[in-house]
């Protein structure tokens, strides 16, 4: 809150605006390509090709989808409550994006004009604020269901409110073990507590009690919180057409879609920070070769794309993929410069861990059937909640034992 003390206020304002602009741009691109990624992976699970025709490997498909959403007719049902009907998608997307402002993507020691580069809102109790923001996220879905004034959306909205209230309890309880270990609400302190190497991460740590059970509870509750398969009952198409967003079209529908993906990113970021060491590397600091991993990854992508261009691609796709190859190669070469290393290595590990979680989300979606509604409720209250409570008690016990 140095904002109030005058002098650094301008620097804070300017740096924050720049960070917000960059984060929004990166995030929107990531959201768009997440849909491409999901369609590709699910397609390959089901022995299909997925998007293929718009751009090489369907790489321009997200762009085409975005244009389509922008130019479609935006229908508002005549019986809908206009104000709430328009408010709901804005609320869903705005809250989903606000939550990401709290996530530190890299080390807090790197600063610009006295402000950390890799986090937009540097709050001391970030975790509590994040839960505050996600706890009001349910309104987007609930209000969308209500304001459409139609029976399937209403059922979807009611279902999702009940589901999100139920699983929020387990989700919050499952991370308290981590708070006990880190003794702080701040993301920077929680990450600093896991410094060292992979064995110090909260999910494996023996300094206290390994949070593996807490992590499994968290991940299950997180999938339910984001309304994804196998907990996607608010939009179960066999029962409810499309659930809460049945009456939404064009860009308002796209906003719900983006909000869902942004929420997936938020909960995955949280899992990364709380259990898997955030931007920390899994290897000890003395292994200096790890600084070249980002460069190696990018160069591998470039090599694969180059092979693809030469052997398989034809016509315009050949040109499009050449551009991707070139970008990856240039990026890889830039990452080889030692001066760049401190700025990319943290982000590299963070994004790598995030990617694993995204892959997990998509695999779960591609392979698991949907729960029945009563199964969902009894699983949340009768299994997940007691297990996360037990995890909390056992963790507290071990911590007290250790302190003697």
């Amino acid at each position: 809150m140095e904002f109030f003390n005058g002098k650094p206020a301008l620097a804070l304002l300017v740096v924050s605006l720049v960070k917000i602009a960059v984060l929004l741009f990166v995030l929107m691109t990531a959201l768009a390509y997440l849909t491409w990624f999901e369609r590709k992976v699910v397609a390959h699970i089901q022995s299909r090709w997925g998007p293929y025709y718009v751009g090489a490997h369907g790489l321009l498909q997200p762009l085409a989808d975005g244009v389509k959403f922008l130019f479609k007719e935006d229908v508002t049902p005549p019986t809908a409550d206009k104000f709430v009907y328009i408010l709901a998608p804005f609320m869903a997307l705005a809250l989903a994006l606000t939550a990401i402002a709290l996530i530190p993507f890299g080390p807090p020691t790197l600063t610009l004009l006295g402000q950390p580069i890799f986090v937009v809102a540097n709050v001391s109790i970030s975790l509590v604020f994040l839960f505050a923001i996600t706890s009001i996220g349910v309104y987007g879905v609930a209000l969308a269901g209500w304001s459409s004034n139609s029976k399937y959306p209403l059922l979807g909205g009611v279902r999702s409110s009940a589901q999100m209230i139920s699983y929020e309890v387990s989700m919050t309880l499952s991370v308290v073990g981590v708070l006990l270990l880190a003794r702080s609400f701040g993301f920077n302190e929680i990450i600093a507590n896991q410094a060292g190497s992979i064995i110090n991460w909260h999910v494996f740590t023996l300094n206290g009690f390994p949070q593996i059970i807490g992590f499994l509870c968290y991940m299950t509750a997180a999938v339910a919180e984001t309304n994804r398969v196998p907990f996607d009952l608010p939009e179960a198409e066999t029962e409810l057409v499309a659930g809460f967003h049945t009456e939404y079209s064009a860009f308002k529908f796209a906003m719900f879609f983006m909000a869902e993906y942004a929420n997936m990113i938020t909960v995955s970021c949280l899992a990364t920070i709380l259990f898997f060491g955030g931007w920390l590397s899994p290897f000890p600091d003395s292994w200096t070769w790890q600084n070249y991993l980002p460069a190696a990854g990018l160069l591998l992508i470039a090599a694969y794309c180059a092979y693809d261009v030469v052997v398989y691609m034809k016509g315009i796709a050949r040109l499009q993929l050449s551009v991707v190859t070139l970008l990856a190669a240039v990026g890889g070469i830039v990452c080889l410069i030692p001066a760049v290393h401190p700025y990319i290595i943290g982000v590299f590990w963070f994004v790598a861990k995030l990617f694993v979680f995204m892959f997990f989300y998509v695999i779960v979606r591609g392979t698991l059937p949907r729960f029945r509604y009563d199964q969902l409720m009894s699983f949340g209250w009768k299994f997940l909640l007691p297990v996360s409570l037990a995890n909390l008690v056992v963790t507290a016990f071990f911590i007290i034992l250790r302190r003697g």
Partner: protein, 168 residues
Amino acid sequence: MIPFILFFLLAFVAVGAAVALIVAREPIHSALSLILVMISLAVLYLLLGAEFISAVQIIVYAGAIMVLFVFVIMLLNAGVEERTDFSKLAKWVGPILAFFMIVELGVWLSRSAIGRVVATGSPESYTPASTVGLSRMIFQQYLLPFEATSILILIAIIGALVLAKKGE
């Protein structure tokens, strides 16, 4: 200066939303206004340096209690509220009484110790309250009243369950 502007902005939002809560005829609109009141209160707490209380205000009131309100309104599909005519007495005496109460509150506040702090308090004295300090107070200094309150809430929950079961 900035806290001053922010305070009045939020105060107007809070009061405006509170008025909208009473005036609105659709139950969901009333609930939405109440959420707005809760959130502006949370930001006011933030201005006072109570970060944790502010976040908890949002989690508990806006995120849990109001979600239940909205949920129940949706579940019962409550229609537009019917207006009864105000009673004549309330129409004439009400505003006068309200006026006197506001004056009384203002006079009392300006003379009390809190009022003097508010009048002379400067933004430079701003220090965020530590969560550790707060938990020390709750779990050491005031442990007994805190636990007594939690038992009271538990009794209320059990009471609600018993009342709900009575009809069966």
